[in-house]
């Protein structure tokens, strides 16, 4: 829940949208950023992405339930707020296509209805149908490789931004897309937009997030890894599954656990007895790049 309003600053910084006509349906909204063709060549990356939380940025059950609560307890309960405010508060990260394609209030409200249906409708068929429709909004390839991929915040249309590792990918010949190398995508700052989201001049004492823990407690005390070095680890360093705390083996790499236990004796002077005694010490060290639990 804590991230809901760290995103306000982003709204103020959004680049102009690419479409003059606001989208009236989810299909209209997502069509300009369809990533389905990417899987034809980037099969492994696509398979990994499909298992990632980015691929469930809208439809993960926990996201849906939390979002439902925010709509009902936050937006609906406040006389100053309305459901169409979702697009200003949540969508830029959970459904980043809305940064580039304008969306009507009516469609935003329709999406809010779908979220509530997907989260809590008693009819499983309705829940599944709503989840399927909302799934079109999940973070796809072009969210990072176009919408957020330009270091100047002004991505060009029909352009693929990549970290610069690939040799002359045939995007132009195959799809008419330019390819632009953006080493910026390898930096932690690339993740900051959504995993921090506070205004640049706002101190973490006011807006504490996963990022402020990374910056103030990890980097400031000698840490030197980027987000990607842990959360995109793989044979080629490009794991698009983005393992996190819900993967036990990965989470285990973020802590050291040491145990010592020794035998000794305790003399009970009052009762004239000698008891076998164990002395133990357990040490837990956070070796990750941010606080536990966080985010």
């Amino acid at each position: 829940m804590r991230l809901f309003f760290t995103l306000l600053a982003i709204v103020l910084l959004l680049p102009l949208t690419v479409s003059a006509e606001p989208a009236k349906t989810i299909d209209e909204l997502v069509a300009p950023y369809d990533s389905s063709k990417c899987a034809e060549c980037h099969e492994e990356a696509h398979e990994n992405w499909a298992k990632s939380w980015h691929a469930k940025s809208v439809t993960d059950p926990r996201v849906l339930r939390a979002w439902r609560t925010f709509i009902i307890q936050g937006l609906d309960a406040s006389p100053q707020a309305k459901r169409s405010d979702l697009k200003h508060i949540c969508f830029s990260c959970h459904a980043p296509v809305t940064k580039k394609v304008e969306i009507t209030d009516a469609l935003t409200e329709q999406i809010a209805d779908l979220i509530i249906t997907a989260a809590e409708d008693k009819d499983a068929a309705k829940r599944d149908a709503a989840t399927k429709e909302l799934g079109k909004l999940n973070i796809g390839c072009l969210a990072c490789h176009n919408i957020d991929g330009s270091p100047d915040g002004n991505p060009q249309p029909n352009t693929i931004y990549g970290p610069g590792d690939a040799e002359d990918p045939p995007h132009k010949e195959e799809f008419g897309f330019e390819t632009v190398k953006a080493p910026f995508m390898k930096t932690a700052g690339f993740c900051k937009n959504c995993h921090h989201g506070c205004p640049p001049d706002m101190p973490s004492s006011i807006c504490p997030t996963l990022w402020s823990s990374y910056e103030e407690e990890y980097l400031a005390h000698g840490g030197d890894k980027t987000c990607q070095e842990c959360h995109m680890q793989g044979e080629d360093g490009e794991n698009h599954r983005f393992p996190g705390i819900y993967e036990k083996d990965f989470t285990a790499t973020g802590v050291d656990l040491k145990l010592s236990a020794s035998s000794t004796e305790y003399v009970d002077y009052f009762k004239n007895q000698v008891h076998p005694t164990v002395v133990m010490n357990v040490q837990l060290k956070n070796t990750s790049g941010h606080g536990i639990p966080h985010g």
């Binding site: 809901f4 925010f70 656990l257 236990a261 035998s263 076998p276 639990p293």
Partner: protein
């Protein structure tokens, strides 16, 4: 109730499997709105992190926490097994043991 937490737990069992000691330390983070805080964006005080107090009971990077115990045992105890676990409580009913360390001490 959904309160994401991590925990460090130590359990001591004797040679018969009887639990002699359990110690738990929990790590959690809260953002809570109080009356004297500013009002949240659009009146939504419970959802605006900038209008809330940050109560950090977590474990920050590079930090080490520990549990030390001295446990006198019943006379005749032959051995005890000390087990330490680091756990995540994702939500009610969804708890995962992330890391375990164990040592048996004989007398």
């Amino acid at each position: 109730m959904y309160i994401p937490k991590a925990s460090l737990e130590v359990t001591v069992k004797d040679q018969d499997g009887k639990v002699l000691l359990t110690k738990i330390k929990e790590y959690s983070v809260y953002d809570l709105h109080f009356e004297d805080n500013k009002e949240g964006y659009l009146g939504m005080s419970n959802f605006d992190i900038t209008a809330q107090h940050h109560i950090n009971l977590g474990l920050e990077p590079h930090q080490t926490d520990s549990i030390t115990e001295v446990l006198p045992l019943a006379i005749g105890t032959k051995s005890v097994t000390v087990e330490a676990t680091f756990n995540y409580l994702y939500e009610e009913g969804d708890r995962a043991v992330i890391k375990t360390a164990s040592k048996t001490v004989e007398f």
